[in-house]
């Protein structure tokens, strides 16, 4: 394995782990409130998978970071500016359609990314990718199926899904931006350049949206600032307020 800057590697792992942590948090907000019992189960299951992935990614980030860091310390004791998730995952749930559209837009990216990370030069990363790719394959099947079902359902469900896509699509581009951290990962053979995933992503999303009879907006701009930590949305602070409350209020306690 080529020597890689450990700070860059930590940043890269935080990006993966913060995505799953924040999205897992959002999805878990649905517990007991979804449109049908099967969805309560499915959403809890998705959230559970995402939190499990978070334990792996942040666990590895903590290991790389050293200094008795831990997955829990990273999750519960960093402030918003240290989070490295893309903005897409911190956006509010909105209606069920918006939640599932956000899920699909993320699942599609994650499934492609994990397919590449299985070949990572860092065996720890390859092992995690291998381990979680099965559940992510299932997530993308489910979320794409629901997007198709609701997009090509009634007039109302179609309209709602188009609104969701229009709202969320400007956040998609951030997943494909590259910076020095990514360059360091590419050089060490740890991870692909994010931009190299775009064609496959566009093909997958294009196919699903066509089947869902939804129109992908052709706006070129993209919101960004999450994965660099430069500028999150206002929503992240509220997520952390509840997520971190106990750890912050009772420092040092074991739970």
């Amino acid at each position: 394995m080529t020597q890689v800057d450990q700070n860059a590697l930590t940043q890269f792992l935080l990006r993966l782990g913060d995505n799953t942590l924040v999205l897992g948090h959002r999805v878990s907000e649905w517990c007991g409130h979804s449109p049908v019992l099967e969805e309560d189960i499915a959403l809890a299951n998705t959230a559970l998978d995402l939190i499990g992935q978070t334990q792996l990614w942040l666990g590895l980030a903590a290991e790389v970071k050293g200094n008795d860091s831990s997955a829990d310390k990273l999750a519960f004791l960093r402030d918003a500016w240290d989070f490295r998730n893309v903005l897409l995952v911190e956006l509010p749930n909105g209606d069920f359609g918006q939640t599932l559209m956000r899920q699909f837009l993320f699942d599609a990216w994650q499934s492609i990314m994990l397919g590449r990370l299985i070949k990572s030069s860092d065996p720890r990363i390859a092992a995690i990718a291998e381990k979680v790719s099965k559940e992510v394959t299932y997530h993308v099947e489910r979320s794409s199926g629901t997007v198709v079902g609701l997009g090509d359902g009634t007039d109302e469900s179609h309209a709602r899904m188009q609104v969701a896509l229009d709202y969320l699509y400007p956040y998609v581009g951030e997943m494909f931006l590259s910076d020095d951290t990514d360059a360091a990962m590419v050089q060490a053979g740890i991870a692909p350049d994010p931009s190299s995933l775009r064609a496959e992503y566009d093909a997958l999303v294009g196919k699903v949206m066509a089947e869902a009879t939804l129109v992908i907006p052709d706006r070129a701009y993209t919101h960004k600032g999450g994965r660099t930590g430069y500028m999150h949305t206002e929503h992240l602070g509220h997520i952390l307020t509840s997520m971190q409350w106990l750890q912050r209020t009772y420092p040092g306690a074991e739970w």
Binding site: E29, V36, L37, E39, D40, I41, Q55, S157, L246, W255
Partner: protein, 330 residues
């Protein structure tokens, strides 16, 4: 219990002489511990009583997601969050099995849901209490799932086959929940002074509501006799409550928490713990809809259902389109 105060659809028990031939055969089967299966003949009242009981049990699992769901986003570690998510997911799954068991009696999940939303069916009184601190998540698993197990282990021998089998499956998961809940409680009770105070508060608030889950004492329980004869109910409320208290008090002592009821005392003569009567007027208030959370719990469920209408309609419409396209292609 998860099903409380189930009115048996008939008052009083028929004597053998009053029974028709079909009824006599049915009762013989029950007396010989032969399970009743969906296609078997059964008295209408047996069917109606079971639908009420299984339906209420299912509703309890579903509404039971809410007090625990209340803490998922605030769970203090990733592991605790995962455990809680898995538990809430299991409870929704229990709801699903039980609605399926009710469906074998000819009652649809949609109909039962409608009755719940219109206030014509109930769910367990316990879920009308709030969850106020993190120790409540431990206490709910330990005390509430613990109480559910005591009842449901007995129900594994209930006369209706699909219900008995659902109980076997559900009990395994409930035992796991109770153990995890107790483990979370140990962390709190043996933790910092603040954590111990949370544990004590959770125990004090949830103790009486938990022992009320078994329903009023046998003397006041008017509907039990026929249900016992039909083996829909297998043990009396007081028997189950005593069993639960006997197994739980030593667990409280192990945690080093104060007993939530000063009357709890080991009685050498009876070989059981004596306990103080819960405030039954509170129980009946909660059952009537006047518990601390009744209105909000039901509103939340109704809102989820109404907000989800477009989703259910959309997915149904899509399924119909696909089916039609398939037919057209053939």
């Amino acid at each position: 219990m998860y099903a409380q105060m189930i009115k048996t659809a008939r008052a009083g028990i028929k004597t053998r002489d009053e029974m028709s031939d079909l009824e006599r055969d049915f009762q013989d089967k029950i007396d010989r511990d032969i399970k009743i299966e969906p296609r078997d003949w059964m008295p209408d009242d047996y069917r109606a009583t079971l639908i009420r009981q299984i339906g209420q049990h299912a509703h309890s699992e579903v509404v039971g997601q809410l007090p625990e769901g209340n803490w998922i986003t605030r769970a203090p570690t990733l592991e605790r969050k995962a455990i809680l998510l898995a538990k809430v997911q299991d409870e929704a799954g229990h709801g699903l099995y039980l609605y399926s068991a009710a469906e074998t009696l000819g009652e649809s999940r949609d109909e039962l849901t409608r009755l719940l939303h219109e206030g014509k069916m109930k769910y367990s009184s316990i879920f009308n209490y709030p969850t106020l601190n993190w120790a409540d998540m431990g206490a709910v698993g330990w005390l509430v799932d613990g109480a559910a197990i005591v009842n449901q282990v007995a129900l594994q021998r209930t006369s209706y086959g699909p219900y008995a089998r659902a109980m076997v499956r559900i009990c395994k998961e409930e035992s796991f929940h109770a153990r995890q809940g107790y483990h979370a409680m140990m962390k709190m009770a043996f933790g910092t002074p603040e954590q111990k105070a949370m544990a004590q508060s959770a125990l004090d608030r949830l103790w009486f509501p938990s022992i009320m889950m078994f329903g009023p004492s046998d003397a006041e329980s008017t509907h039990s006799e026929q249900s016992m004869a039909w083996k829909i109910k297998v043990k009396s409320n007081d028997e189950l409550r005593q069993q639960y208290i006997d197994q739980t008090v030593p667990q409280i002592e192990y945690l080093g928490l104060d007993l939530p009821d000063p009357s709890l005392k080991w009685n050498e003569e009876t070989g059981h713990y004596d306990y103080g009567e819960p405030d039954w007027s509170e129980f009946f208030d909660v059952i009537k809809g006047n518990g601390p959370c009744n209105v909000d719990r039901l509103r939340n469920r109704v809102k989820a259902w109404e907000d989800g209408a477009w989703v259910r309609d959309g997915l149904m419409a899509h399924a119909r389109k696909k089916a039609a396209a398939k037919v057209a292609a053939q």
